[in-house]
């Protein structure tokens, strides 16, 4: 990575600075370029949904933002500060573990397969990080956890282990667990894909509630076009690691400009 870093600002200033900015971000695995000079902004409080064919790099975008993957080029900023880099003597250098740990506190993520800790009950899942990362007392963390489990409609299941919960319930615990860390940005990676059709609604209802009642910034990957259209402020259609087209749901679904967007939307509606 011999990129000239001087073209990237040390931080983003101004009242209109985005909550998330991908600037010229490239990610490759060996010869496979997964994301190619990606530029993407998400404003504070905005709900942006990423759609696109399988393998187009949607998950990778979220994983980089969650610092689960390193990037090969470009810079990601969160709330004005570089996430993937840090300032050293007036230039951006790759972030060290400490910087990443501090920045990561801004972001939460929900996964396709929930990834709950199976040996902890629902409430313990929600308390672990608040106690040991944020330094809350067990009592405070428990109260917050109970509130959030109630928010996702699971006040009855507080003391259950994940193995005893349905997929929809597990995913709702996972959402409560992520919220317990008070992230500024919440990421959803196909959170309903592993669920039986009849419980998808439980999870989408929770996300709906978050959108309408909380000022969270959200970036979501989903294959549920109807849901995406209903709750997103903006939709980005990914194709081969780039944004092929983006716009409001009505623009993108109602009047898609690009040939590939039309193809993709035709394919997914036929599949339903």
């Amino acid at each position: 990575m011999n990129e000239d870093m001087s073209k990237y600002p040390l931080r983003l200033e101004g009242s209109d600075k985005p909550m998330v900015r991908f600037m010229n971000v490239t990610k490759s695995y060996g010869d496979l370029v997964v994301l190619d000079s990606l530029d993407l902004d998400v404003a504070e409080g905005e709900m942006v949904t990423v759609i696109g064919p399988s393998g187009s790099g949607k998950t990778t975008v979220l994983r980089m933002l969650m610092t689960l993957e390193t990037i090969n080029g470009g810079v990601i900023y969160v709330d004005g500060e570089p996430l993937t880099h840090m300032e050293k003597n007036g230039v951006l250098v790759p972030a060290d573990a400490k910087h990443m740990r501090r920045m990561r506190a801004n972001i939460g993520m929900c996964f396709q397969h929930f990834n709950l800790f199976p040996h902890m009950t629902a409430i313990e899942n929600c308390m672990e990080a608040p106690v040991h990362v944020l330094g809350l007392t067990r009592k405070e963390a428990r109260e917050r956890g109970l509130e959030l489990l109630a928010l996702v409609g699971l006040e009855e299941k507080v003391d259950e282990h994940p193995a005893r919960l349905s997929g929809g319930q597990q995913q709702r615990v996972a959402i409560a667990r992520a919220l317990a860390m008070r992230p500024k940005v919440l990421l959803f990676d196909e959170v309903t894909s592993a669920l039986d059709p009849e419980v998808i609604g439980e999870v989408t209802n929770v996300i709906r509630k978050l959108v309408s009642e909380h000022n969270l910034t959200m970036l979501m990957v989903t294959h549920q076009m109807g849901f995406a259209r209903e709750i997103s402020d903006r939709i980005c259609l990914f194709y081969r690691g780039q944004i092929e087209e983006q716009g409001t749901p009505d623009e993108l679904f109602g009047n898609p400009q690009r040939e590939r967007t039309q193809q993709f939307l035709r394919a997914v509606t036929e599949a339903m």
Partner: protein, 222 residues
Amino acid sequence: MFDWRWDFVWEILPRLIWATGNTLIAALLGYGIAMVLGLVFALAQRTPSRILTMVVRELVEFIRSTPLVLQIFFIFYVGPQFGIRLSPWVSGMAAIGLHYAAYLSEVYRGGIEAVPRGQWEAATALNLSTARTYFRVIIPQALPTALAGMGNYLVGIFKDTPMLSVIGVAELMHTANAIGSESYRFLEPFTLVGVIFLAISLPTAWLIRVFERRVRRSLGMN
């Protein structure tokens, strides 16, 4: 011809039982050392440092590819040439602890690697520290997988304690041998040693299986 003397059995039994205590202490102490050191070996191979990983990897391979009895001899007889003078007990515990640490580190590694990647990712997403991730998230889930192997090596270390007799640790085998040399009767002492080993190994193996099931259940993973 087949001359089994019960009166001799009763005569030597107290000495053998006392020696069984030493055998158990040696096995448990050695296992305790191996459990802790094995975890150190396993975790050292997962640090970002390539050099540390390689050194520990080679050390583990080296220990696993050479006989325990050689390691015991080395520490006890060759150690003094390097100014390391250890008593038979300390040498023995060091050797057996080190030897089984190498095996247990592999068991731990297998257990840790069996934990799904999503668990690490969730821990990262929640910003848990590396230590917290290991001790609260990964190791508890690695345990059920590792327990079977750990149990086998507990029985294994117990059965290997007779090797300590070569440097004069007064465990069961050493004592039986001493009785034989004094009385010229080997049948009863060695038979008793076998019976005592069986009487401890079999129930232990059974208890380990029960314990394994318990742990799985208590971790909510049946």
